[in-house]
Symmetry: C2
Subunit: 344 residues, 2 copies
């Protein structure tokens, strides 16, 4: 995987001086961080990165990542950090122009593992594509679980003609999801619980900026988008209902999910609607554009299993309702929040 | 200090569900974070913040803060986070337009203390002025020392006529510092070591964007600026010498420092030149503008004790030299890095 792993002495580890602002930190930054993420802006190693921007509006976002384990089927904390931040920019309608990378590393962390995660960050950033343009590194003595926390912030340009938000949502609007739900959360929880399935559960961590920009560029009437991370699809739908005062009806038979993911959720007692995704976006669109949007999503590698899962209704009081496979109805609650610690 | 502290049940504490993306997290964000940092952009609670920007160049930066203790004379981790990030933007010549706030909190952290630190963040941001426009909150089980880490990223507009950087530095340029050195590092280390002085050592944590922008607007020939945080003034001078291939001569009798800070440094075995500051900037200016720049700095509350500490020379090989008070010369080394763990 890593192009550099071979050159690593197996026992080289992070020490406190790697975070002290002196010569040791300089070498860590040059030999590991800049080596992996190399680009002209980062190479300047200035106090900040200068970015060109042609738009009169920019989008800014941030996310911290505390996932345990650091590496899991389908990704690692590095891929998660890039995807999470890029997706937050993308659902705001932005075109990512720069990411920052804040590393908080525990003393004793293996440098070979750090290099592997930095390579993963670089690969995910290339896929977007966006550069990691600035960063910060701190070393602390102990206590981070598996030894690494990452914060990423991101900046995007926002075109003049993009206007999405809760206030554009109206009864009748269609609700789309770009694929199977719950895979990230159940991939991490399966590893943590030592569950094994015939088909392994693989995180869906993916950068969605390209797919989302293609919808916007095609003039699809996108009302609102949100990536369904912590709190899952249920959390996003609860937000929509609460902020608009409208109801939502979704159909169980339209919710894409993998059998192994569903099996793991049932075994561990989770509702897949509340489980975190890292490559799934809930898209509310003008019903006239719903079929075209769905077709466009399905042409993209991260939208092959896209589905129209339901619609916005005028129902009062505002509720999110699931129509089950056998025609029953149940209310989808906002997740309370303690289901899945350190999932991202 | 806190306007809300009275309403806090004394024993209310962070629990894992505060970071889970559900109803508990919603209440934490509304009642604590948005309540303290209130502004129209943050209140949207979207995946990212939309910022207006009239410049074709923006500056982006990030910093994580792991200081122990969280509160110390002259500041706390919150004030540090705002000042550190704003100062990185300011030394790049930027006018801050938005900050992000990533909180990583340990389960059990007292909510009253969180509110106090959020109020401190709000006060520092008002002073700049800049808004905290977006954020992220994670809760982990244990192990953060005092229970809170903060990451801030920042975005600034960069005017067309601002061009600073290593490549503008030339022999003869004057080197200024805006006041006493080493106060932040020694304030934190004194608390950690239980040292007490008649005059307490107070951190210099301060946002310098206003002071720096006034120099730039007045057309001072600023070649280069860097805030002297980890690695201190010695670290900045080493960077300048290394990146330009030029030498630097500074004069011990021109280095402003407080007697108590100097006493603490001597007692604990630190060289003040290598000790972290959080409100000090090293400014390299056209020698023709040096007196005017110094006068302007001294008019600002964070530059009253500004001093011209030395100059850039053509000396070969490139070295940083200190002319001592009794006329001797010693080479100032780049700090190695392990002197002061968790100082910022």
């Amino acid at each position: 995987m890593s192009t550099f792993a071979e050159t690593e002495p197996g026992d080289a580890r992070i020490v406190l001086a790697h975070g002290g602002g002196g010569a040791m930190m300089g070498r860590l930054i040059d030999d590991y961080i800049v080596a992996a993420l190399d680009n002209a802006t980062l190479r300047e190693l200035a106090d900040g990165a200068v970015l060109k921007n042609e738009s009169s509006r920019i989008v800014m976002t941030t996310d911290s990542f505390v996932v345990v384990p650091l590496e899991f089927p389908g990704g690692d904390i590095g891929r998660l950090a890039v995807c999470g931040t890029v997706n937050d920019l993308a659902v705001m309608g932005g075109r990512p122009i720069g990411l920052s990378l804040g590393l908080i590393i525990e003393e004793g962390f293996p440098l070979a593992r750090l290099r592997r995660i930095l390579d993963s960050i670089a690969a995910a950033a290339r896929e977007v594509p966006v550069d990691v343009v600035t960063g910060d590194t701190k070393v602390i003595e102990h206590g981070l679980g598996e030894g690494l926390l990452i914060n990423t912030a991101g900046v995007a340009s926002l075109d003049e003609n993009v206007h999405t938000g809760f206030d554009g949502i109206a009864p009748g609007d269609a609700i789309l999801v770009n694929g199977t739900i719950g895979d990230h959360g159940m991939a991490v929880m399966s590893v943590r619980n030592g569950l094994e399935f015939e088909t392994p559960i693989v995180s869906d961590a993916a950068p969605l900026a390209g797919m989302i920009q293609s919808l916007l560029r095609a003039g699809i009437g996108v009302r609102f988008m949100r990536d369904a991370t912590r709190g899952g699809v249920a959390g996003v739908l609860a937000d929509i209902s609460e902020r608009t005062g409208l109801s939502i009806e979704i159909h169980e038979d339209k919710l894409p999910c993998r059998p192994a993911t569903r099996a793991a959720a049932e075994m561990l007692g989770f509702d897949l609607l509340s489980v975190a995704n890292e490559g799934k976006v809930v898209i509310v669109v003008d019903p006239a554009d719903a079929d075209r949007a769905l077709a466009m999503l399905r042409e993209h590698k991260y939208g092959i299993e896209a589905s129209m899962i339901g619609k916005v209704t005028a129902g009062d009081p505002p509720l999110v309702e699931l129509v089950t496979e056998n025609g029953g109805r149940r209310i989808v609650q906002r997740p309370y929040g303690e289901e899945l610690p350190r999932i991202c």
